[in-house]
């Protein structure tokens, strides 16, 4: 019993260490299973599953009608990881091709999931002015995403109403940023 408790402690410590290294506690999930299976292998067998667990990562971008990104945010609880962020941008950029094809086939603004990369899904929302709101996410919360898009669209319209904002230019309003992040927390 004592020995088992010690092992438990060691495993927890390893998990803690790994989480420190990764700077992203949710990045690794350590699964520990102990089973007595074979008499020849009395020790406990450890399965450590390294799995990329991006459950809460989402990348949100607004792309202007000229295909220029005017707003980008890594929303969600995950801390920022540059390499992953760039890959997200690459994926979103590539998904523009699909949006381009799909946008003309439907009158709805919300295009739902349009692309899938690994476990990541790209959802898109095309406004009447052909500004595209794109979200890279892995959750399956379709209604939440729709509401998120609709509310961000409203925010975007408010930005457009600003006479000092030049349509098509980068959105630098911190208020907008805060609101978008709040919405992301609420819906995603």
């Amino acid at each position: 019993m004592k020995r088992r408790r010690f092992q438990k402690f060691v495993l927890r410590w390893i998990a803690h260490f790994l989480s420190l290294v990764s700077a992203k506690p949710t990045l690794f999930r350590i699964e520990i299973s102990r089973r007595r299976t074979d008499s020849r292998f009395p020790q406990q067998v450890l399965f450590i599953y390294f799995s990329f667990h991006m459950a809460s990562t989402a990348c949100f971008m607004i792309v202007s009608r000229n295909d220029i990104p005017i707003y980008e945010a890594e929303v969600g609880t995950a801390t920022k990881k540059e390499e992953a962020a760039h890959q997200h941008q690459f994926i979103l950029h590539a998904a523009l091709d699909i949006v381009q094809d799909l946008a003309w086939t439907t009158s709805a603004m919300y295009l739902k999931a349009i692309d899938r990369f690994n476990d990541l899904v790209v959802s898109a929302y095309v406004t009447a002015g052909h500004t595209r709101l794109m979200l890279l996410h892995d959750s399956r919360n379709d209604d939440g995403i729709k509401s998120f898009f609709q509310e961000v669209h409203e925010l975007y319209i408010k930005i457009l109403l600003n006479p000092l904002y030049l349509p098509g230019s980068r959105i630098t309003s911190s208020h907008f940023d805060t609101k978008v992040r709040a919405l992301a927390r609420k819906y995603l």
């Binding site: 290294v21 990764s22 700077a23 299973s33 089973r35 299976t37 074979d38 020849r40 292998f41 067998v45 399965f47 450590i48 599953y49 390294f50 799995s51 202007s64 000229n66 295909d67 220029i68 990104p69 005017i70 980008e72 801390t79 920022k80 990881k81 540059e82 390499e83 962020a85 760039h86 941008q89 690459f90 994926i91 950029h93 590539a94 998904a95 523009l96 091709d97 699909i98 094809d101 799909l102 739902k112 999931a113 349009i114 692309d115 899938r116 990369f117 690994n118 476990d119 399956r140 379709d142 030049l166 098509g168 230019s169 980068r170 630098t172």
Partner: protein, 1164 residues
Amino acid sequence: MEVYPEELRTPPVALAALVGCPELHADVTKHLHSEQPPINTLALPDFSKIAVIAKAQKGDSSSSDQSSGILKRDWLQKHRTHIPAVVAAFFTSDQVSGDPTQWLQVCTDLDSLKAVLRERNIKLVIVVVVSSTSNADLSEDHMTALKKRAEIDSKHIIIFALNNNLEMKESLNRLGSIFAELANTYYRDEGRKVKTRLERKSLSSVELSIRYCFKVAVYAEFRRDWPEALRMYEDAYQTLREMIGTTTKSPAIQWLIEIKTVAEQLHFKVSTLLLHGGKLTEAITWFRQHHASYKKLVGAPEVSFLHWEWLSRQFLVFAELLETSLSYTQSISSPVPGTKDRLTELEYRSSYYYQLAAHYLKEKKSCSEIALSMMETTNKSDNDVDSIVPSIYIGQYARVTEEGETCSVKRVTDEDYVRYALVEEKRSQDFSLIVVLLKRCFEAYNDLKAPRMASYCGFEMAREYAATGEFQSAKELLDSVASLYRKEGWVILLWDVLGYLRECSMKLGSAKDFVEYSLEMAALPVSSSSGVQPLSFNSCVFAGPPSLSQREMIQKEVFKLVRGESGEDNNCLKITDTQPLHLVIDLVSPLRAVLLASVAFHEQLVKPGAPTPMTISLLSQLPLTMEIDQLDIQFNQVACNFSVINGQRSKHPILESHPNLRIETAPSLTLSTNKWLRLTYDITSELGGKLECVSIIARNGPNFTICCIAESPASMSELPLWKFEDRVESSPIKDPSVSFSGQKAIQVEEPDPLVDLKLGVSGPALVGERFIIPVTISSKGHPVFSGELKINLVDVRGGGLFSPRDVEPSSMDNLHVELLGVSGLFENEDNNKSDDNIEKIQPTFGLISVPVLKEGESWTCKLEIRWRRPKPIMLYVSLGYSPLGSDNNNNKVHVHRNLEIEGKNPVLISHRFMLPFRKDPLLLSTIKSNPDQIPPPTLPLNETSILVITAKNVTEVPLRLLSMSIKRDDNEIKNDSNVSGFTLLQGDEFKKIFTVIPEHNQPKLKTGTLHLSWKRDATTAGEEVVLTEHKLPEVDIELPPIVVQLECPPHAILGNHFTYFIKIKNQTQLLQEIKYSLADSQSFVLSGTHNDILYVLPKSEHTLSYKLVPLVPGFQQLPRFTATSLRYSAGFQSSNTATSVFVFPSVPHFLKEKEGKLGLIEEH
């Protein structure tokens, strides 16, 4: 797909064995193969070979082995190639019906065969071959005996006749159908047998149930029962999936590997069956589930690469399957809408799976690299892994140890297995596979017109190339990718791509590219202030995080390099005297953000030699301030080039070869971020024409120059990437008007001409004459070299109507005004230069060359212009010459003169036809004619008519008339008159009377043309005689039927009577009835009939005579005579002028004198 053995990839085919009569085997094999469905054959020449089918003797270990694996590696192979469903034993009829020894042989053969077959439940068919040569007849007894011996149904004994082709074919067909039937039965029985075992649920382990499911499915496949096969495969797959969570076995690593390998095979079978069944959407959904359920099962970290490899293989194989199935289904069913987890359109494309396969393969590569490096640190010898081979179970590995003669097989431990896997891994060639996969989807996306996806693949591909050192290929790919990101303004992505490009060009030793990419990166609008670089797991990130600090770092690095200040560490890149670096930034270069040069002249026109201010504005978006040593400003006129050197740098200016280059010193040449550096200098151009700033060369260090093509602020486009950034925008020049309209070019005026051009014209031009315009060129300070005189005639009202296009230009009559030529050329010039002289005269344009004139000289020529119609025109004369004598066209000086000249008709000619006094012919056409239109004048035939021509001078020029004549159309002069010396002043009229007697009765008779010759009545002699033509109108000639003539004396005297005759002449052949009346007049006493009707005989004349005594002096109207021709209903009334007469109160003096001479007053 090639990773799988052949038996797995193709659907299983039933197997039949042939024993005996080897000469027939070829035919039978061929026939069975062509059956539908085909049957494979195993041909055994004689019965001794039958042992290959026999069941292997299982040792004692078989029971314990049962649960040690899931699927046996060779099971499927065995059933496809070794264990037949049917065995056909061939006997000749001779053997059956021959002597007893032969029969005995048949019996023993059959017995041994039966013994083998019974174990496996294989069906038996006996074929008795009856050849045509054999004479033995096959009795019923023989057949019965054979049947009994073989213990088979009677229909399974076939008589194979070889007599002729037809019979043989029939026998083959029969054989084929029996084989198919028996094979079907065999596989169904086998399947059922296994299935009952499965359903008994008393299996000792899950592995067995999976194995049985697999077997049932395979047997179903043999029977071509696809739905059953699919169901069983799915069952096996599900069972296997459940097993992962519930059971664990040692060794753990290998256990997971085995499960995954089996799952892979089952999945492959399921997808193949689904796709072949045309269920595309189901197959894709199935694959997605497969992927979802296994992707998390990474396994132990040291062999995690095996998982990624496995996952990648799943995608690759599925992509290949999808591709082959799409190639024959051709249509992609659209994604089913509405479902929550619907498939995207992309998932129907194989390229999507290729891309993910490549992605996982990359993952595997990075994992295996780590694992390999870890192995090297442990540094164990890997000799013992050579003996590890795949064991008899799928996904298991075993060690073969040789102990003397016998080989024993033992399972390996996980530790050994990991080592084995790593050693195997060393030999793999992931790189080439990744590139192949990526290239495939790169091309596929390009075909789909999805450039952005293709770019992403291209980027990934380039990363692979870069990682393996193929920098050239990487660079080419990245360049194309970068252009897309640049165009669409995805700065972060561009940053990454440029980072790779920078690294590639450094590795390739291309300093120019390195500097270009680095500068572009440094000038990107990246400003995320989170300068903390987080942990990066991928060592391939060259660019670093996109941040301001990184940009600053890059800029510092580059400027160190270009200044030659970098240490030895910066590998092969060197910028030296021998290899200077020269960058060109044109209007579309992405480097415009690095250095943008705008040049504006403050004025638009400048006199030569006069200074004009010019502002050079430089802008840079580099994060750090950039210091420039020297600026070279270059113009299209080389003489204007100048350099600006930085006053803060104590170094000597880098002088060009030009010794007299203008050098300015600026207090500082420092470019801060997003802040215009404005420098204003005066420029003086000595030459006329356009002065344009071409480029600005910034020198930084001795060997680095940036050549910036100059841009005009008015037409400058914005920086594409910075356009939408949040930054302070300022104009390049402080003066807003200049910054909006400033141009980089200025027009330098010509020097003032010092040559006078005079057009000596007085008065208007007259139509018809050759009008002379003297042009005088007199030099007043400039010598004239290669002078050219251009003459243009332009309609004053605009629209050069001189030669209408719709009329052929050759007909000169259409030209109203024409330049005839230039006279007086080269009168005082020797003729040796005439070759060079240009003389080009066209009706409205002339170009003549002017001889060389020295200062003070003058030259005259005369332009000759003729007007055909009165019209005012504008004459433009321009002289172009070069005062310097060089042939340079830019330095020509131009003098322009213009003059409006009015062309006028000299005389106004009018005409009038008149009949003799008091003689009136009845002209019927004038009566009938419509009063609305003016009829052409009608003249009576054979009567004398009078034509009065009036010529009136309508110009202010006095004219001298020379002659006036009428010419008939046959050029015969009808009537000529010399009026020489008659001078017409302004407004004067000249009248001339011609008599006309028409002789032919003909309508529309041409009268002819009036020719009037005249000349200017100038003091100068030698004026040209001009002939003006005037066309006289056509007249109608008519024979009047009746002519009324009044006759009375020219005047009367009060109280003295006179006679008044009225003669009515009938010119017709008819009797004319004339009703006439004579009104009374107060001034006269009259005798004679007042009213009457009279008859005038044909061709005769009737005369009425009245005697009148005038009562009142002065102008008096004679009694009015009115006559009416009843035949023509035409009346005649004498006109007032014709019937007035002057009555003298007494005999006037001149009559008295006359009377004195004659003695009497004659009475008429």
